[in-house]
Structure formats: C-alpha cells, structure tokens
C-alpha cells in the first residue's frame, strides 16, 4: 500500500532551525546572513529553505528600500513570516518527527550574521 505523502515541506533539521529562528521573533524581518546566524547554519546555506517557504506562502520577502550608491552597499533582501506562515510553522515544528530539541546539544548556534563558518 502506497504511503500518503505529507502535504507540507520536508522538515529536515536545517529547515527546522530556520523556522525556529523565525518563530523566536515572528514579526522580525531578517536578511540571509542574519537568518543563518540565528539558525546556527553556515552562511550561504539557507537560500533553498527560504525559497521553499516563500513559494509556500509562509515567508514574504522584499528588497531593502535604500539607495545603494548613497549607502555604499548593495540592497539586502529581507524575509519575514506571514501571519499564516507563522501558524503553519508552529504546527509543522510540533509535528516534526526529529525535533530540533533532540539535537540541541550537538548543534551550536553560530554567533553574528556572518556565521562562524562564513
């Protein structure tokens, strides 16, 4: 008998860590490096997860409203949980088969937006 495929995203550990980072402050907007640092992931590894949640409507993203020439730096892409996304993320984390708490002693958060392993 074929097993029914779950409708939500696959809850891998990095996925759970990213969700948990967002749920720590659900209304906070964060950019890529900040998200990696908050989730304890190496920088540059969160984009596939963010894209997945954005397509599902759990996250929304937008460009920072600055003039790059005046600021002397490129615009950042900010991400934030949608209202519906926050609710779904909580449920998904609660239902995850391997909760992040089970590996809390193994995974160590990386301080700073660059991530310790930038």
């Amino acid at each position: 008998m074929a097993r029914k495929k779950p409708s939500g995203p696959r809850m891998t550990l990095p996925t759970q860590l990213v969700l948990r980072a967002f749920l720590a402050e659900p209304t906070k907007e964060m950019y890529g490096l900040q998200i990696c640092a908050a989730a304890g992931l190496p920088s540059g590894t969160a984009h596939p997860i963010l894209a997945r949640f954005e397509k599902l409507g759990w996250l929304e993203s937008w460009w920072e409203d600055i003039n790059p020439e005046e600021e002397g730096r490129p615009r950042r892409r900010y991400y934030r949980l949608t209202q519906d996304g926050a609710e779904r993320a909580r449920i998904a984390l609660a239902q995850a088969t391997t909760p992040v708490s089970a590996v809390d002693g193994v995974l160590r958060p990386v301080p700073g937006p660059a991530g310790g392993t930038a």
Partner: protein, 152 residues
Amino acid sequence: MTIAQAMTTTSALLVFARGWVSARRRNAEGEREARVVGVLKLVWSRPDSTGRAHAHDALRELEGASVRQAARRLRRPASRSRSASGLTRIAARVLPASERDRYVQEYSAELHELAQTGVGRPRQVMYGIRVITRTVPLRFALRAPRRERAAP
C-alpha cells in the same frame, strides 16, 4: 685552520645566531601586537556581539599570517573576493532565468557584508562554494510550485 681561527669563526657564528634569534623574537612580538590591535579595532568598530564574533573569526584567520599580512589587515577592512563573486555568479546561472538577477544581488549583498565585517577572502570563497553546493536544491525549490499545481 688554526685553533685560534676556528674559535674566532665559531664565536662570530654564535653572535650572528644570537642576533638572528633576537630579531625573530622581535618580529614575533610585533606580529602578535599587530594581531591584537587588529582585533581591538574590529571590536571597537562594532561593539556588539556581532563585532565580537567577527573579531574572533579574524583572530582565528590571522593565526599563521605573516607580519605583512597582519599589517595589511590593519590598514583596510577585508576586500571582496573576486573568486567568491565569480562562484556566486556561476551558481546563479543554474537558476531559472527569472530569478537569476535577484539571487546575484542577494549573494552580492551578503558578500559585501562579509567583507565589511572583516571576513577574509578564503572564508568568502568558502561562502561561494557553499552557495554553489546549494544551487540545485534552490533551483528545485524555485520550480516547485509549478509541479505541485500539475499534481492531481
């Protein structure tokens, strides 16, 4: 060679060796000092936990750096690595055409931030490599909704 000549040569060699060892010691002290000043400058520029984290990274990176490298680090913040930029551009080419520009800009902003916070070029290249290794999952993620709609 007489015994007197041999003794003179040996003592000259000993004086030279002592001088060399002492110069090496001075260099090592100078290098240590340069590292500490560099780290203090980093912390001073961002006196929060982020600054401390990057200072820690910078200190780790400076371990084994030459005096010249340490001095160069003191004069200016880390510059952006062209190799890392190139890697992120290669990664973006794998993505759907409609999304390429967005991710090129996003990676560029992140690399800029890494450089500004004192992350050196080797670690920026590591960032580029990590971005490349995540390109295929990102491509799948970006194409996913169309597949879901096609499913019954």
